[in-house]
């Protein structure tokens, strides 16, 4: 179990670094960057469960993300309900939506699932845009409440947010790591590689795809809730948009789909790239930052089609040869 030991060592080092770095570098923007990075790493890991391990690509994870953020934010604004309960409600609703999507389409192969999640996300976005209770297209602003853990509001600095996100990142990574080694983890990969063979071996394909989607939906919703509570403003055009869905896919694919470290590596590359290109070049309003981003995505794909995990493997391989 050398591999397991390596994982725990690397994982601990990363966690300690993430926890200590913001204490050393007292730069608010650095902390913000770290929060976004960890949040999107967690989010992409959640997508990775269904998209990477089980191989069912979804272009509509914004639907779970948006449901999570609305479930935490709307009861908080209207009734002052603690967002922790809202987060759970969001998770449960996301699971129900996952069931509604999964039951009809998991019988199918190929892109039907991808387009279905995408269609559901568009439907839900338009419903929220026209829903009075959540202020339609304007979206919800978090109310100003007493700060603290109960309301999940911190005004003085960003550190508490960072540690909360770090805890969720820790849970998500550990869960994925353990899942890889359980029977279910093997089932997922079998379904991805050879569905017919998996079925012949007695794996209930649609049931396990459904499990993967439900887990993925639950954690995506929780990340959505955290995002809303951190940004303090949510609206259908951001939390339910195709942009969010694609960004999640982008990060995972950049890092390496179905790889444990893929999501973290992908967000380490993409999030700072996006943030800094926006800061340095975004002010012109002419989209130079996005031109650069698009070109870089294309170049990364062409240069290393296996994702950054593939790149690392290549270096490892070369080292092994010498």
């Amino acid at each position: 179990m050398q591999n397991d030991k390596n994982f725990y060592i690397i994982f601990s080092i990363i966690l300690i670094f993430m926890a200590v770095a913001p204490l050393v570098i007292q730069n608010t923007h650095f902390q913000h960057l770290l929060i976004m990075l960890l949040l999107f790493a967690t989010l992409s890991q959640a997508w990775n469960l269904i998209g990477g391990y089980a191989g069912q690509v979804s272009f509509g994870h914004a639907v779970f993300f948006g449901i999570g953020s609305y479930a935490a934010m709307a009861p908080l604004t209207h009734w002052g309900l603690t967002p922790w309960v809202g987060m759970l409600i969001g998770g449960v609703v996301a699971i129900i939506v996952a069931l509604i999507i999964g039951v009809p389409v998991f019988r199918l192969k190929g892109h039907y699932f991808a387009i279905s999640t995408f269609a559901v996300a568009e439907v839900v976005r338009e419903l929220f845009t026209n829903w009075e209770w959540v202020d339609g297209p304007i979206g919800l602003d978090a109310p100003v409440l007493e700060q603290g853990f109960y309301n999940l509001m911190f005004y003085k600095n960003k550190l508490p947010y960072l540690y909360i996100v770090l805890v969720f990142f820790f849970i998500m990574m550990l869960l994925t790591f353990r899942m890889e080694r359980t029977r279910m983890g093997y089932y997922f990969r079998a379904i991805k590689q050879r569905p017919e063979a998996a079925q012949a071996m007695g794996v209930h394909i649609s049931k396990y795809k459904q499990y993967a989607l439900m887990m993925s939906a639950f954690f995506t919703a929780i990340c959505g809730a955290l995002y809303g509570l951190y940004i303090l403003h949510i609206e259908p055009a951001t939390v339910l948009s195709l942009d969010i869905s694609i960004k999640i896919v982008l990060i995972t694919a950049l890092g390496g789909t179905g790889a444990l470290w893929g999501p973290l590596l992908g967000s380490i590359i993409l999030i700072p790239l996006q943030e800094y290109s926006r800061i340095w070049l975004g002010g012109t309003g002419k989209g130079i930052d996005l031109i650069l981003l698009g070109a870089l995505i294309v170049l990364i794909c062409i240069y290393e089609p296996r994702g950054i995990v593939g790149l690392l493997k290549r270096f490892n391989f070369q080292k092994g040869k010498n």
């Binding site: 039907y112 279905s116 269609a119 568009e122 694919a253 070109a295 794909c301 062409i302």
Partner: protein, 288 residues
């Protein structure tokens, strides 16, 4: 319910539906043959529309006459995209190809934004613009009518080409089984390249028609692309006839449903239609 209004709705739905069809046919060709979802499809549409607009604004060439040039141009854009972006990632995870086209989409859209700005532009002095035909209390805008007829004709030509010509047979063989096609002596890479070009040319033709009655701006392709994804899945992947009929269906649902339920829900209805169809016929209306 007034019959004239209903007829008018049906006709408007049909007219825009034919344009959707042609866009979706371009997408379904690429998707069916290469199993690649081309996210830059909408941006190809935008490029076609902008080229038509620029030719009109700078050279005074009417969009009706610039159409062949635009189709050729987009064919070339498709070939170029295949060579530079798609070919290096063929054979890897399908997501990477998708990602590459997504990056390309962001790139194209923002380059156009950078050089031409975000303004909405419209061609209002062309041969067709603003003219309409009225009969029996129904109004048909001439540019839309011409576009619809043109789109149907081109879709039919593409269909004939795919089902009758030698290249079409090679294309279908490659779509069914790439390795076997290769063994039979078909140059699959060439088929891929030409398919990409053909798909882009289809969307180029649609853009060339669309510019006659639709405004142009850098993000114009987005909505059409999203709709055409749904149309392709609705008709069954890689199925040209399916994409054609599904496009008409979506046009009708958008217009008639939008009128009765409210225009803010017109896309919602299209997506709900898709979800209903997919639960009844899991491989799309005409999928096999």
């Amino acid at each position: 319910m007034d019959v004239t209004i209903f007829l008018q709705l049906v006709i408007s739905g049909l007219l825009i539906g034919f344009v959707f069809s042609l866009i979706a046919v371009g997408l379904t060709l690429i998707w069916g043959v290469m199993d690649i979802l081309n996210f830059a499809h909408g941006d190809f549409l935008m490029l076609a529309m902008f080229s038509a607009f620029l030719m009109f604004a700078n050279l005074g060439v009417d969009p009706v006459f610039s159409l062949p040039v635009i189709v050729g141009l987009l064919f070339f854009v498709g070939l170029l995209t295949f060579r530079l972006v798609i070919k290096p990632v063929l054979g890897y995870h399908a997501l990477i190809a998708l990602l590459a086209t997504f990056g390309l989409s962001i790139f194209i859209r923002n380059v156009v934004l950078f050089f031409l700005g975000p303004d909405f532009r419209v061609i209002n002095q062309s041969v067709l613009a603003g003219k309409r035909i009225s009969f029996l209390g129904l109004h048909l805008s001439l540019p839309q009518l011409v576009s619809a007829i043109g789109c149907v004709l081109i879709t039919y030509v593409v269909y004939l080409f795919i089902s009758k010509s030698k290249f079409g047979r090679a294309l279908r063989a490659t779509a069914l089984d790439k390795d076997t096609a290769l063994l039979m002596g078909i140059n699959t890479n060439r088929v891929f390249a030409l398919t990409f070009g053909l798909g882009a040319a289809c969307v180029g033709a649609a853009g060339g028609f669309l510019v006659n009655f639709y405004y142009v701006f850098p993000e114009v392709g987005l909505n059409f692309a999203i709709l055409s994804f749904v149309i392709v899945a609705l008709g069954g992947f890689g199925n040209i006839g399916g994409a054609f009929l599904a496009g008409i269906l979506v046009g009708l649902v958008e217009n008639i449903g939008g009128f009765f339920v409210g225009p803010e829900f017109k896309y919602t209805l299209v997506f709900i239609l898709y979800l209903i169809v997919i639960s009844l016929r899991p491989k799309g209306l005409f999928g096999w």
